[in-house]
Subunit: 472 residues, 2 copies
């Protein structure tokens, strides 16, 4: 590359070659524009043009302040959208599998693809430690006393501030702090449903939601989603026409397990559709902050009907173990306040205050930007490895956000048997069985791609692949 003049097509071709030879792999960062310009002795503009071509081809993508990253090859086998038409409300019976899963994952040596949690390396631990200490000493050790039912005023204020750019922002008087997002969802369910009611959920949906329905004797009406764009609103409308639905629980941003994100226009239409029918929407936004693309808002941001019971948490972005979540129930606020008080009085004040102080310090947004990119890179590396090692015919839904990949195995594979078998090898993963009351996903697995990418992780995925190949 000694001083010879490259034109932008030549630069692009050179990078494309590196990608096709796998010198550059999905998730890898490209050399910076400045670096390439110096190395090849071409203008900055030439490199920009070259990268733009590659971006237009979908071979790479860019992130503000973070440069260009290698994308997945087009040949990655994507999950087919099978028309399933579920629509029959059924009683829910998800097994106690999830509890066992967590116990297994906690045991030493387990490679955790099962529990959906960010690894410590992604969390701002030393900063949070500092704020926990500050919280303990806050105003004459006030946090040793019973906190207010609604929550620590400092945290309520900070959460409210984060909604200032929403079309309909949330006043801090309408927020209530919970022990994580799951408690928020349960409180909302208790506020607006009674045993026997039919609740519309996504298919697949988070197993915790199905467990909550089961516990309350509620029926699930499953609405199939697209693994990229989430709920199909025509399907939803049809299902609502055919059934008397008491409430919906959806994850419009970053569906768990698939990582699907509804386009903003669809979220607006969803709010409209349910608002007009007066069917409350419980929005599970636990992963909403982890959409990879900017410009994502929750459905609650468009909630002109005051009909969305919004639930979120800091478990996926700051500290799963702190168990700090929150809800905003709109017109049901008094009711949720009463239920929260009755269920455990209020949420511990120390960890609330610590998170409030962290948010106040203004570091959260920067942390989220960093974390989203780190996750996206991880996701690309995992998908690349799965594509490479898993048997032919396996399909993957490339997530739009969140921290899990939804993998469709061959129809002959039983995911539950697979889970048991790889657990013996020290690998935890989540069988599709628990994400639906139907049998549609019994050959699916959810893979948490948070564990930092390295040869050990690749070997674990290879070990799963080996079991799959033996079975088929």
């Amino acid at each position: 590359m000694e001083g010879k003049l490259f034109r932008y097509e030549q630069v692009a071709a050179k990078v494309e070659e590196s990608i096709s030879l796998q010198k550059l792999q999905p998730g890898d960062k490209l050399p910076s524009v400045r670096q390439v310009s110096q190395e090849l002795n071409v203008s900055l503009n030439t490199v920009f043009q070259a990268y733009s071509i590659l971006e237009a081809k979908g071979l790479i993508f860019s992130k503000p302040k973070s440069g260009y990253i290698v994308n997945l090859p087009k040949s990655t086998p994507q999950q087919a959208k099978a028309k399933q038409e579920i629509f029959l409300p059924v009683s829910v019976e998800v097994t106690g599998m999830a509890t066992a899963m967590m116990k297994n994952a906690k045991e030493n040596g387990i490679i955790n693809f099962s529990i959906l949690a960010p690894v410590n390396e992604m969390l701002p631990i030393s900063k949070l430690n500092k704020y926990v200490s500050a919280a303990l000493n806050e105003t004459r050790n006030e946090n040793y006393q019973y906190p207010l039912v609604d929550g620590h005023p400092g945290l309520l204020k900070q959460i409210s501030r984060r909604t200032f750019d929403w079309q309909k922002s949330i006043d801090q008087a309408n927020i209530l702090i919970t022990n994580g997002c799951m408690e928020a969802i349960n409180i909302c369910l208790d506020a607006i449903t009674k045993s026997g009611d039919v609740i519309a959920v996504e298919s697949p949906t988070y197993h915790g939601i199905l467990q909550s329905l089961e516990q309350r004797g509620l029926k699930a009406l499953e609405i199939e989603i697209d693994p990229q764009t989430g709920l199909n609103l025509d399907d939803l409308q049809m299902a609502l026409d055919k059934n008397t639905v008491a409430a919906c629980i959806f994850m419009p941003s970053c569906n768990n397990p698939s990582g699907a994100c509804m386009p903003e226009a669809n979220k607006m239409r969803l709010v409209e559709l349910l608002g007009k029918r007066n069917i409350p929407l419980i929005e599970d936004d636990a992963l909403g902050e982890l959409c990879y693309q900017p410009g994502n808002y929750p459905a609650k941001a468009y909630d002109k009907y005051n009909n969305v019971l919004y639930c979120s948490s800091f478990s996926k972005t700051l500290a799963p173990g702190f168990r700090i979540g929150w809800l905003s129930a709109g017109k049901y606020h008094k009711e949720v306040e009463k239920i929260k008080f009755g269920s455990n009085i209020s949420t511990n004040g120390v960890l609330q205050a610590a998170i409030a102080k962290y948010l106040e310090s203004g570091q959260y947004e920067k942390h989220l930007r960093k974390m989203r990119l780190a996750l996206q890179v991880q996701m690309l590396k995992y998908i690349q490895a799965i594509t490479k090692h898993f048997p032919n015919g396996v399909k993957i839904s490339v997530p739009q956000g969140g921290i899990s990949i939804w993998v469709e195995l061959l129809h002959t594979t039983d995911a539950f048997a697979l889970q048991k078998e790889v657990l013996n090898k020290g690998i935890g993963l989540c069988p599709g069985h628990i994400f639906s009351t139907t049998t549609y996903f019994h050959h699916f697995i959810r893979i948490n791609f948070c564990p930092a990418w390295n040869f050990k992780i690749e070997n674990a995925l290879k070990a799963v692949a080996k079991v799959l190949k033996q079975k088929n």
Copy 2:
């Protein structure tokens, strides 16, 4: 007192005079035996004999390692045990008053006789702070990750150790950590009852329990208690004969609000009675560690039928704001584990680990001894002041433990109106209305006697007394 020889009757008479002249008041500590012996130039034995006479007369009482303390005068008007025969299961409707109570108490300047919580001065805060920091750094920041459903293994172990001297001790595999005792009770209720069931409760009982019944559509069967000795088992037996009872929720040690403690023999009979009938007992032992007399065990300690669902917490002894409680559900363990997981996955690990470390350090028992004595002294001072300032005819149940006094006002007084009126003067107290579904206690108030005794507190009680006198 210059060198003259006193005999023990003379020493006793001298102390008795000081008490009757109110130079020494209820809750005051007597000078030590050594001190009196030196001052009066008499033998140690003479002083011991003098103090023994006074103790036999009930004028003073002794505490190991803490010496002698002045008791209440015999003339203190005790609450009459009115035979009420409640026994009719009723639907529960306790108002949202409690939520408002907490909000009010949190506002600046409120003298808090309403919320049942130890003041910070009684808590080992600097030690706990140290252990919170240690917990944050524990084993590669493990407590940032999702804790196990059952709880932090270190805390489970420490709790189990504290039951080693029970007739039936609790294995750590049968313990589950909750967000406070109220959550423990709710989980137990969800494990063993269904809407419409009849639950036997004490009358009066903790308002949180009535709220839990209300929330679940359960019916309360109130069993009147004696303000000193708690449940009358013959009454209970009769009530069980007349009604189909699905479960009982009782506080055998330190009933809230009255501070009644059942004698150990009665606890054993209670376990027997319910065990034989196969009616599960949910035991609320939140205040059980605060019995003033030694040798108190929970009913669970005698649970040979594995029929007691035991609920307790560290909220009344270490840190209300940490919201760390626990339960041991005997044969219902798998069921409560499932419910806990579904409701909020698990309890935050940081504060669990901090309490575990504190217990490990061996300081808890000493702290409890100190705290029990401090509370008993506070109780005596409060009762003395109430007796002195409140109108004639007001009756008091002298608590056997815990942190509240149950005061019967004149029948013409409406406690709810009183509460509203004194709230305007910055004084919070708890009207009897919320401790029963009946109207029997509408002229009762519960007074939390934790705020450290001083002239401000006495003035607040005087202000309440003034309102009472104006009303009558």
